[in-house]
């Protein structure tokens, strides 16, 4: 039994506390960024730009906020791929449902009265 040799544990160049301090700075920057984006969104809807342009920008900003919170605040960036898959599956189904319903309703040959009769 005494001949058994264990591989040395990997020594991190940064301590756990240093890593958490780095995260603190990331969180502060992200929070400021998210607050600024919310302000931009609010101003944007009152500006006299093309509706499609505003819609696209709002969608992009919203998507950025969504992904940023998941990646950094929810630690998905630092966690295992399995967790991303677990959440991604639900997200994919939710998005798929929305896109499918949206495209179904957008078709001109759909009898909306028959659908809404229920």
């Amino acid at each position: 039994m005494s001949d058994v040799h264990y591989a040395p544990l990997p020594v991190s160049t940064k301590s756990h506390k240093d890593s958490e301090t780095d995260k603190y700075h990331t969180f502060v920057n992200l929070a400021l960024c998210l607050a600024a984006i919310t302000g931009v969104e609010l101003v944007l809807v009152y500006l006299p730009f093309n509706a499609t342009f505003i819609f696209t920008v709002l969608l992009t900003l919203s998507l950025f906020k969504f992904v940023a919170v998941i990646a950094w605040f929810m630690h998905l960036l630092y966690d295992k791929l399995l967790l991303t898959l677990a959440f991604g599956t639900g997200m994919a189904i939710a998005t798929g449902t929305f896109v499918a319903l949206g495209s179904l309703i957008s078709r001109s040959n759909v009898d909306l009265d028959a659908i809404t009769a229920f």
């Binding site: 603190y24 919203s62 605040f73 967790l83 991604g88």
Partner: protein
């Protein structure tokens, strides 16, 4: 050797449990995504089918909703700090940040109650039209999620005073509560854009 083996086994066992807890939470959040996806889709599709049924721009207060969004984003920031503090074993910092999250959560709920009361006063109820039904259903469900989150964090705050909470064991529990809270935040990010801002374009 046996001590080492036990320690290794214990660590492995603990790690497996913690991983399972996190995986379960992420699976739950994935399913909740589908739930909210359906509610938001229903609202948007009924808006498309009956665009003339109701004009919410006269009723919505973008300033109030933006303030609520800001509050929820800042609460997410504090929650991230609370999780980080727990990982560092700083219980006092954890408590301070969690109290901040609870406070911001209550402000958000207060804003939502005020908004609902204002809408009802203006004549928009759950049964007024399809807009009222889908809007209250969607934002109300989100509000219930926020209320559950606040209750969860209040329990966690008081639990931290019992002396049973140690940094190593409880860090994952705090992280799981944090995941739930951040999820509530990302759902609101979508609702804010897809339900409120879109109406003003």
């Amino acid at each position: 050797m046996s001590d080492t083996a036990t320690a290794h086994h214990d660590d492995g066992h603990l790690s497996l449990n913690n991983d399972n807890k996190k995986l379960l939470m992420w699976l739950f959040l994935g399913s909740d995504c589908m739930f909210f996806g359906t509610l938001i889709s229903t609202h948007l599709i009924y808006r498309k089918i009956y665009p003339e049924s109701f004009d919410p721009t006269s009723l919505f207060s973008l300033e109030l909703t933006s303030f609520s969004t800001f509050i929820l984003l800042m609460s997410s920031f504090l929650m991230a700090l609370a999780v980080s503090a727990m990982h560092k074993g700083e219980l006092k910092s954890f408590r301070r940040n969690v109290l901040g999250v609870i406070f911001f959560g209550l402000i958000f709920l207060g804003c939502q109650v005020y908004e609902f009361a204002h809408f009802v006063h203006e004549g928009l109820t759950l049964s007024t039209n399809t807009f009222g039904s889908t809007f209250y259903m969607m934002t109300g469900t989100h509000g219930v999620h926020v209320a559950i989150g606040v209750f969860w964090l209040i329990c966690m705050y008081f639990y931290s005073h019992t002396g049973k909470m140690d940094a190593h064991e409880s860090a994952v529990d705090v992280e799981i509560a944090g995941l739930y809270w951040h999820f509530v935040d990302i759902v609101w990010i979508v609702i804010f854009t897809a339900v409120y801002l879109i109406e003003f374009i």
